[in-house]
């Protein structure tokens, strides 16, 4: 039983990170029909930006701020203006392919300009264990979970309770009508790109201490987030959160109880089942776009 509890906590912690990445993925899809195949690399890069800042002599807290700002600039603003804007009106597929090329580019750039080796990354949560209900739980898992929940609830509050959030929802649901009633749709789309860049930078900060900073580390993560977004509901933020947590927990349980060889198969089978029997996702509604 204690084993199960540990697995659940660890699963929720990774799941919370998947959720962060999946939420950003969903945001981009809803506002601009971007299927971002580079989302995993988007999570890998900020850790290296922060490491670079630290190598240049910045203290950890400053490196974090610089890393987040730089990723918002590169992965938010530049990504949108240079790649998404020119290609958006030409349909989903060419843009998706372009993001695949971008993923290769980011990976190779990190390998070339930084290192092909895995680098350790400092944790923002102190290491150690605390005892909960008689179980030793690592502070890192708790810290990750708490920070991810804070970020996601902050985002949900922004989307549902503020005028800005309502404008973003309007821009996603019906850009034409939103434009007519005076919503600055372009600016709202840009905002979702910046939010995505912020979320991936945060995810990077949380996950890299656990798995080390390596140029290939985005591959697995990107795919997990991708699956989480679809399983939960491609067109709903809360679906992406649920999907992320579900995939995180299932992945850990599958490794323990199914087989380590086929642990990766479990999310895939769920993905196929969900798409075939409930294509709108577990929490989504059929072909409706809400943020």
């Amino acid at each position: 039983m204690s084993n199960l509890f540990d697995l659940l906590v660890a699963g929720l912690a990774t799941g919370a990170i998947y959720a962060l990445v999946a939420v950003g993925f969903t945001l981009l899809w809803q506002t601009s029909q971007t299927i971002n195949f580079a989302q995993g690399e988007f999570v890998m890069l900020p850790a290296f930006l922060m490491l670079a800042a630290m190598h240049a002599g910045a203290p950890f807290w400053l490196a974090i701020i610089l890393g987040i700002l730089l990723s918002m600039l590169l992965l938010g603003l530049a990504f949108k203006m240079l790649l998404v804007d020119p290609m958006m009106r030409h349909g989903v597929l060419p843009l998706a392919i372009a993001t695949m090329a971008l993923a290769i580019g980011i990976k190779e750039a990190v390998k070339q300009f930084f290192s092909a080796e895995a680098s350790p990354f400092p944790s923002i949560v102190p290491t150690g264990d605390v005892s909960i209900l008689g179980h030793a739980v690592s502070l890192q898992s708790i810290g990750v979970l708490v920070l991810a929940i804070l970020a996601v609830s902050g985002l949900t509050a922004l989307l549902n309770r503020t005028s800005l959030g309502h404008q973003m929802q309007a821009a996603a649901q019906n850009p034409t009508v939103a434009r007519i009633i005076g919503v600055p749709v372009e600016r709202m789309i840009l905002l979702t790109f910046l939010i995505n860049a912020f979320l991936v930078a945060l995810a990077s900060l949380l996950i890299t201490p656990i798995y080390l900073a390596k140029f290939t580390s985005g591959e697995v993560l990107g795919q997990a987030a991708f699956i989480a977004a679809i399983v939960g509901g491609f067109n709903q933020v809360r679906g992406a959160i649920a999907g992320g947590l579900l995939i995180g927990v299932l992945d850990n349980l599958a490794a323990a109880y199914v087989s380590t060889q086929y642990r990766a198969a479990v999310p895939m089978i769920i993905l196929i089942a969900v798409i075939l029997f409930r294509p709108q996702g577990l929490l989504g509604r059929a072909e409706e776009r809400t943020v």
Binding site: I97, A101, Q112, Q261, A264
Partner: protein
């Protein structure tokens, strides 16, 4: 113009074919390997172009079919079967699995279909890696023999390059015939407007499954050639990134154009090699080139040509109209 265009096209085609036969004769081992790889990938991309470019069904599983074909060929030829028999089995196997994979396409479309096929691709990779009693697991299958064609051994790089090139030619002719047959038109009808196709009596169900099955079968052919080309296979080359690469080839070359896969495979296989002189930067430059190309022309390389030709035709037509009009005026 049009009377002149056809012989010109044929002449150009013959020159390219002759060049592909003659020029590699004094290539070194590595150059021939890369060129053979181009031919193999062009076959797989042609299959995906049928599924995606002509029939409009997104598939992220073509790499898995290359894997299925490669493992079928590797297992059979190492047990003494001749390669042609292995190719037939690879075709049958990929066709059958592709047919089954087509069923989700009857239910979901576009990006959802892409995700289902992506999941299939990952599952296939796991089977290649984990079922070591069948596939040799991570150790793979080594010492895959190259065939004797009409009694001529092809174990040297040049003869085997001709095997790949010859297979590419046969597949190209078959695909050329297919897309000009009523089937090809049915595929395109499926892509352009499935509802109208159905109302005109096209059995969309059957053609959707066929589009998947035939496209996948060509992936199997490519795999059956890939195994003797590398003479050693393990699961790694057949992971998801091969499927993504093949998709990239089709889109970059120009989806729905007959020559698209040839150009796309050239970009994906040869361009990184040409850029090797830049050492560590070559894949980065390749990625930038692909992005730049897609920004410039989202319909791929042949999209550029197509637009240019369409423009010229419109211009020519408007000149003719102007001439006709002025003549009419002078008569009056």
């Amino acid at each position: 113009m049009s009377a002149f265009a056809k012989p010109l096209k044929i002449a150009l085609g013959l020159i390219v074919i002759a060049a592909l036969i003659v020029i590699p004769m004094n290539f070194n081992r590595y150059g021939l390997f890369i060129l053979s790889q181009w031919a193999v990938m062009a076959i797989a991309a042609m299959g995906l172009n049928l599924t995606l470019g002509y029939a409009g069904q997104v598939s992220l599983a073509q790499g898995a079919f290359v894997g299925i074909g490669a493992y079928a060929a590797a297992m059979m030829t190492t047990h003494g079967w001749p390669l042609p028999a292995a190719i037939v089995v690879a075709i049958a196997l990929s066709f059958a699995v592709g047919w089954v994979l087509g069923y989700p396409a009857l239910r979901v479309q576009h990006h959802y279909l892409a995700f289902v096929t992506l999941a299939f691709s990952t599952l296939a990779f796991l089977v290649f890696r984990n079922e070591s009693w069948l596939t040799g697991g991570i150790y793979g299958i080594s010492n895959i023999p190259r065939p004797h064609i009409f009694g001529i051994p092809t174990s040297k790089p040049l003869p085997f390059y001709y095997v790949c090139l010859g297979s590419l030619a046969i597949v190209s002719l078959a695909v050329w015939w297919l897309i000009r047959s009523p089937w090809g038109r049915a595929f395109m009808a499926l892509r352009e407007n499935p509802l109208r196709a159905q109302s005109l009596g096209v059995d969309t169900r059957r053609y959707t499954l066929m589009a998947f099955a035939i496209g996948s079968a060509l992936g199997g052919v490519a795999g059956a050639l890939y195994a003797p080309l590398t003479q050693y296979i393990d699961p790694v080359p057949f992971n998801l990134s091969l499927s993504l690469d093949l998709l990239m080839m089709v889109i970059v070359g120009g989806a729905g154009f007959f020559l698209g896969p040839f150009l796309g495979a050239m970009i994906a296989v040869l361009l990184p090699e040409w850029l090797r002189f830049t050492e560590g930067y070559y894949l980065m430059l390749y990625a930038i080139a692909v992005m730049g190309l897609l920004i410039w022309s989202p319909t791929g390389i042949l999209g550029i040509l197509d637009r240019y030709l369409a423009e010229r035709r419109t211009k020519a037509a408007s000149t003719l109209r102007a001439v006709a009009k002025s003549r009419l005026e002078t008569v009056q």
